[in-house]
């Protein structure tokens, strides 16, 4: 059992060990949907929501697998659960709020292959977080992902107006920006306990 205080877990997941800029999880959506601010916000919200639900599911699943003594099934069952959670969330949102469903569009099904979600489930299992800690961890990671996406999209909207050398345009310049952002986030390293 892990006894890290809740505020420390949140700050840690959100800023100190930001999922995108320190752990390199979820780089594909980070580079793919960060060119406009509005889509970045929606993507961040969707990821946070799925993270929260799949974190709860992963917690229950881990208990179950430990009870039946089949830890080698962890990975297979996690990915199956995440895929079905995304599917369920998609159906739920379509039923409850068609407007939000329209706004999220293609991003919703793509969350299945977002490694930040599976990474979150695996990390919380490795660290032995209890139920409350898992939920806080998921919230922190989701907030950190949204923050990184927002910062990136803000910079890229400005960048689109600037003059970038032709051969460096696109992914290369986005990676340089991400590197500088990542350097900035290292400044938080003194804040949390590992």
């Amino acid at each position: 059992m892990n006894s890290t205080p809740l505020w420390s877990i949140f700050i840690n997941a959100c800023l100190v060990n930001n999922f995108v800029l320190a752990y390199f999880l979820g780089i594909c959506p980070f580079l793919g949907v960060s060119s406009r601010n509005a889509t970045a916000v929606r993507m961040g919200a969707a990821v946070m929501f799925v993270m929260l639900i799949s974190s709860l599911c992963a917690f229950g699943l881990n208990r179950l697998l430990l009870a039946v003594e089949a830890p080698y099934l962890t990975l297979i069952s996690y990915i199956a659960v995440i895929a079905s959670v995304v599917q369920l969330v998609e159906m739920f949102i379509r039923k409850v709020s068609p407007a939000l469903f329209q706004a999220l569009g293609i991003f919703l099904p793509l969350i299945t292959t977002n490694c930040a979600i599976l990474g979150l489930a695996l990390f919380q299992t490795n660290r032995g977080y209890n139920l409350t800690q898992s939920v806080i961890y998921a919230l922190g990671a989701g907030a950190g992902f949204t923050l990184a996406l927002l910062l990136m999209s803000g910079i890229r909207e400005k960048l689109a107006l600037g003059r970038v050398p032709e051969f460096a345009d696109g992914t290369a310049i986005a990676l340089v920006v991400a590197g500088i952002l990542s350097l900035g986030f290292m400044g938080f390293a003194g804040m949390g306990a590992s």
Partner: protein, 210 residues
């Protein structure tokens, strides 16, 4: 459906399928797929090599199974089936590395398990293995896997030499060498990958002009 796609494809020899992943359709430098492991575990050349080989293993075996069963898999659940097959081989690799080298397993950490969500693998299964015979699919997978491995090595070598002053753990410089610590930090990964992408687009451009 499958026949139409094959018919419209450019006819290509098996050798072509193998070598296209090395340069022309390199997964990292040209297709920009599988970015997460590319950046996360390339702080030393050894980690990069291990991650590349693990991905190569998963890619080839999944391609063999999926292309062999491509007529049996219903179209509606194909993605779910692919993911389950991939997850099975990733579990095998995870336990294999744990059995061979515990230190390496600790260094790669959760990123071995995260091979499951490497978009490179799912992409090859969907775009290639599900539409071709096992022999061709495995050749394609091996080519892509080797292409991925050498791309990871490119990053790993630069980051290890500059960040630690070593290569595969062997010291390269006299003791007065001041390591560039930033290279082994997360931001170094972004910078080195950006640099390689620039070099590659430069080479591809000059090749296209001549």
């Amino acid at each position: 459906m499958a026949e139409i796609i094959i018919a419209t494809d450019r006819p290509s020899s098996p050798r072509d399928e193998l070598i296209k992943g090395l340069w022309r359709e390199n997964p990292v430098f040209v297709q920009v797929l599988g970015m997460c492991p590319t950046l996360a575990v390339t702080n030393t050349a050894e980690n990069a090599l291990a991650m590349g080989l693990a991905t190569l293993f998963v890619l080839s075996f999944s391609a063999a199974i999926i292309s062999a069963g491509r007529t049996l898999i219903p179209n509606q659940v194909r993605i779910a089936t692919f993911v389950l097959v991939i997850a099975t081989f990733v579990t095998v690799v995870d336990y294999l590395i744990q059995a061979i080298d515990l230190d390496l397993h600790a260094a790669l950490g959760a990123f071995i398990a995260l091979i499951v969500v490497n978009c490179l693998i799912l992409g090859r299964m969907e775009a290639f293995a599900a539409r071709h015979t096992p022999t061709v699919a495995v050749l394609d997978a091996i080519g892509m896997g080797i292409g991925f491995t050498w791309a990871l090595l490119c990053l790993g070598v630069v980051r290890e030499v500059l960040g630690f002053g070593t290569l595969f753990g062997l010291s390269l410089f006299p003791a007065s060498f001041q390591p560039w610590t930033v290279m082994v930090l997360p931001s170094g990964g972004f910078f080195v990958l950006a640099l390689w992408l620039l070099i590659f687009s430069r080479i591809a451009r000059s090749g296209a002009r001549t």
